[in-house]
Symmetry: C2
Subunit: 284 residues, 2 copies
């Protein structure tokens, strides 16, 4: 840690702990059925939870209705208002999206007593956690939090970030995950020297290949990569050695990560043409 790190350590604070909560097959209660509730339901379906929705039918947003109809495998719907503490039984998370602030606060208090993580829409000081704008591409999830400084800004940041992505990152990550599993089959075990070697090989591979190269890998090519790489002194083969298309790395890095900005390019073309023309006219 140098001087920069030291001053950074002293300045840390003012943020949240951003985490990927695991809700696979857990039970989540959503109280309310309006637009915000429909967004909550979408986020929770992403995480493979079972959802209980409690809300009178009259207040259901069309999207909430459709989720209830389409995902009966995951959502159990109760057409009634919130009744009391018994509605919290067996729940692993509670989300309220209600106009009634008094009821929201009451549900939060009851959840806290039972140590159930809880979020109350629009009442930040009552929340164990906040939601943020999200980008999803297969196994890749990106969350943008402004720590309560305006949801609109989060969605503008989202647009900026999306410009930096090629749209093939999710596929590449899936392939890397499959490759890691195959590697673990060849060199099993948790932690230890082998674990470190495995991690080092994967990390060197990810650093030396372009992300998009991984999208070309299929089952056969993955085995070949492990045969020619890991099994031969743990070297890292180049994509070409596996017969993947040879790419101009420098160019691809420039073009794939940043979308080609049309305007500056046209401007540069015109500037080049003008420069050449005036140079030639001058010489003549």
């Amino acid at each position: 840690m140098d001087a920069d790190d030291t001053s950074r350590a002293e300045r840390l604070g003012g943020g949240s702990l951003l985490v990927a909560w695991q809700l696979n097959d857990k039970n989540v209660l959503v109280v309310g059925g309006g637009e915000v509730a429909s967004q909550r339901i979408e986020s929770i379906l992403t995480a493979d939870s079972y959802i209980t929705v409690i809300a009178p039918e009259a207040g259901l947003h069309p999207r909430t209705k459709r989720f209830i109809d389409l995902r009966a495998d995951r959502i159990s719907y109760h057409n009634r208002p919130f009744k009391g503490p018994q509605d919290l039984d067996g729940k692993d998370m509670v989300l309220t999206a209600l106009d009634d602030n008094f009821l929201s606060r009451h549900i939060v208090e009851m959840s806290r007593e039972r140590r159930i993580p809880v979020n109350a829409a629009d009442i930040p000081d009552l929340c164990d956690f906040y939601f943020g704008a999200q980008i999803r591409d297969g196994p890749l999830q990106i969350m943008i939090s402004t720590n309560g400084n305006g949801p609109r800004m989060a969605s503008l940041i989202k647009t900026r970030l999306q410009k930096g992505l090629s749209g093939r990152e999710g596929e590449a990550i899936t392939k890397v995950g499959q490759l890691r599993s195959k590697l673990k089959e060849r060199a099993p075990g948790v932690g230890g020297t082998l674990g470190r070697e495995r991690m080092k090989w994967m990390s060197t591979l990810c650093n030396s290949w372009e992300m998009e190269d991984f999208t070309h890998l299929d089952d056969t090519l993955m085995d070949k990569l492990l045969d020619e790489g890991w099994n031969k002194d743990k070297r890292v083969p180049k994509p070409q050695e596996l017969g993947l298309p040879i790419r101009f790395y420098y160019l691809s890095a420039l073009f794939s990560a940043t979308p080609m900005p049309i305007f500056p390019t046209i401007l540069a073309f015109v500037a080049g043409a003008l420069a050449a023309t005036s140079f030639i006219s001058y010489k003549r």
Copy 2:
């Protein structure tokens, strides 16, 4: 919800619930003091928690040591191994970063019994939540999760995303947050018609201004913006009306969001010059 939405609703799943956990003044236990523990401590200091670190001094990473020295206001350090369930008393979150998998599992089980959220480094199936790569810029926090498919990929995605940011987003968000607070003072209350109007005005403003425009706002200009805008029929003034520098929006949008790619621009310039030269030679 149209056909696209419907098929999306049916396909949701396989992810996590990304959230910004609020740990302000909560108590977090970190068992272990190695490199991973030092990363955990950094994340938790960001969220303004009190941290208890339990680890024999011999195993402390230099960064862990420095955090303990520099942030005695937040970290209480116990130079010993984990003792037993009494170490979990009063904790709101537990993080283990140990080589001893057996002990990690034991701590997780005890935490679960007490309904304390828990993360065990390197043992994903035991975790209530995962960490991911992060970008921080003041109030802006971005998290990248690959849902367990390789931390290296998350950090490559981080590099891609950073290319799309101007580095002034955090400042802009801070200013927008301050403006919102000022607006709330003028039009107080939670929810209701006024709440919706406030939200609509802020949202229109954020959509019509460039993000970087907000960085120019100071206290006086914010008041002027509210006087000339919100207080006059809730209109949204242009940045120029407040005397902010007139900007070429189309250009700035192109240049600020995507960093100028040098190589394609030079290429276009040369192409332009060549085109002009050959055109002129041909005509001659």
